[in-house]
Structure formats: C-alpha cells, structure tokens
C-alpha cells in the first residue's frame, strides 16, 4: 500500500486514526507492516501490500 493511503484508512472498530509501522517496503509501497489503532490498540496486518482492516 502507498503511504498516502493512511489519509483514508481508519480503525474499523472505533474509527480512530491508525499508525503505520512498515516492516518491508519496495519502491514506496509498504509490502508488509502493521496498522495500529491509536485509540483502541487493535493491530491490523499489511500483507502482500494489502491492509487487512477486518476486526480482530
């Protein structure tokens, strides 16, 4: 996923902003990482460039 996608993503549970922790990047794309909710502390995985925002 591109970094600018952070502007349109939110926690599916509480709708709060997410914090990106990129673990693997390639050509500006985040291939693997974590999206951490700043409010309810749920973590969401990014795998194969696709953020998985299904409730845990």
């Amino acid at each position: 996923m591109k970094h600018d996608m952070m502007e349109i993503l939110c926690c599916p549970v509480c709708k709060s902003d997410l914090e990106l922790k990129a673990m693997k990047e390639q050509d500006g794309d985040v291939i693997e990482g974590i999206l951490a909710c700043k409010k309810c502390s749920h973590d969401y995985k990014i795998e194969n460039s696709i953020p998985n925002l299904l409730p845990p």
């Binding site: 996608m5 349109i8 194969n48 953020p51 998985n52 299904l54």
Partner: protein, 200 residues
C-alpha cells in the same frame, strides 16, 4: 460538461478471476455503464471482487480505492491491477468499515439474492451472492455506512434487483435523493442502477 466521461467496457483490460471470486456478469456491465466520471476525482468501490469496475475507472484517470471482505477477492484485484499496469488502492475490509476519507463517487454491485433463493447455493456462492434474508440487508448497511464518506455533491451508484430493491429504496428515501439510471430485464428479475445524492 464536456469533461464528463461515460464508462464503457474495455476489452483491453485483462481480468482473470480466481476460484471463489465473482466473475464480471450482467450486473457488473450495467453498473459500469451507469457511471460518469471526470479525471482526477476520487472513487471508492465497495465489494470490488475481481477489480473489474475499479480498473476501468483507474484506466480512465481517476483515483480508485477498492474494498472487499474476501482475501481471495483482494488478491485477485491486486494481481489484475498489476497485470494491467494500473494503480488502485486495495483494502480488505467489511464494506467500508475501515475507510475514513471523502469520495466523489461510491460504487457497489452488492450481493442481492434473497436468503430463500440462496438455499440451493453452496456456502461460497452464498457469501458472494446472498444480500441477507430479504436480499436487501447488505445494501441498506452500505447506504448507511458510506453516507459520511460521500463528498457534498457526490454520487453513489448502487445496483439493485427487482426481487429485493423495495426495502432499499424505502430506506434511502430518508437520507438520499435518488434517480433511476439504467435497467436490464432478465427472465426472472429486473436489474437497475440507482444514483443517490445526499439530501440538502
């Protein structure tokens, strides 16, 4: 407006569909033909499946975010985007529950078969095709969920079936203005696309 472009099927877009993902069909083509876009706008497609519509929009020069709840569908959309060298932002989420931005156009070709009609389907087919016991529940939840994601003056395009659309239209009357765009008669139902705008 001269810069408004109506979408047409583009046979040059190579769509391959993995097992378990909805293959573009009559309803996909009808929804595609209903959309008019302007370059540079931002589009959200909910339930993108193979990415068929999202990729047509991306090729026309708009910014596209595409969601699907199915892991196989988002992987299919991602690989179709790569195969066609087109950029779409893909998110695995339930309808638009992980989305917070604002969009000029929001699209959805939902599952709309009634639970009763879906009794003969496999579990996987039910997940793709059944829109709830009355066939309308997922579409209503969609209209409720995306209301705050739609820009002022923006458009929602939703595909409906005559077998389950009455409850959807009745629900939408309270929060949207609506316009019937296109329909297609099939032997057992009439498919329609409606455009919804926020009431002023």
């Amino acid at each position: 407006m001269s810069n408004v472009q109506t979408m047409e099927f583009d046979p040059d877009i190579d769509i391959q569909v993995l097992d378990g993902v909805y293959e573009p069909a009559e309803d996909s083509f009808l929804l595609l033909r209903s959309i008019d876009i302007r370059p540079g706008i931002r589009i959200l497609e909910v339930g993108t499946g193979s990415g068929f519509i999202a990729l047509h929009c991306a090729k026309a020069g708009v910014l596209v975010t595409a969601t699907d709840i199915s892991p196989v569908a988002v992987e299919t959309a991602r690989s179709n985007a790569k195969r066609n060298s087109l950029q779409i932002d893909i998110v695995q989420t339930d309808l638009a529950s992980g989305i917070s931005g604002k969009f000029d156009i929001i699209l959805f070709n939902p599952p709309y078969i009634t639970g009763e009609d879906g009794d003969v389907l496999t579990k996987r087919e039910k997940e793709q095709l059944v829109g709830g016991s009355g066939g309308h529940e997922i579409s209503i939840r969609f209209l409720d969920e995306v209301h705050d994601l739609l820009c002022e003056g923006g458009d929602i395009f939703l595909l409906t079936s005559s077998q389950s659309e009455n409850n959807i239209l009745e629900y939408a009357r309270g929060i949207y203005e609506m316009e019937h765009m296109l329909n297609k008669e099939l032997f057992f139902e009439r498919l329609s696309v409606y455009r919804f705008n926020k009431t002023v």
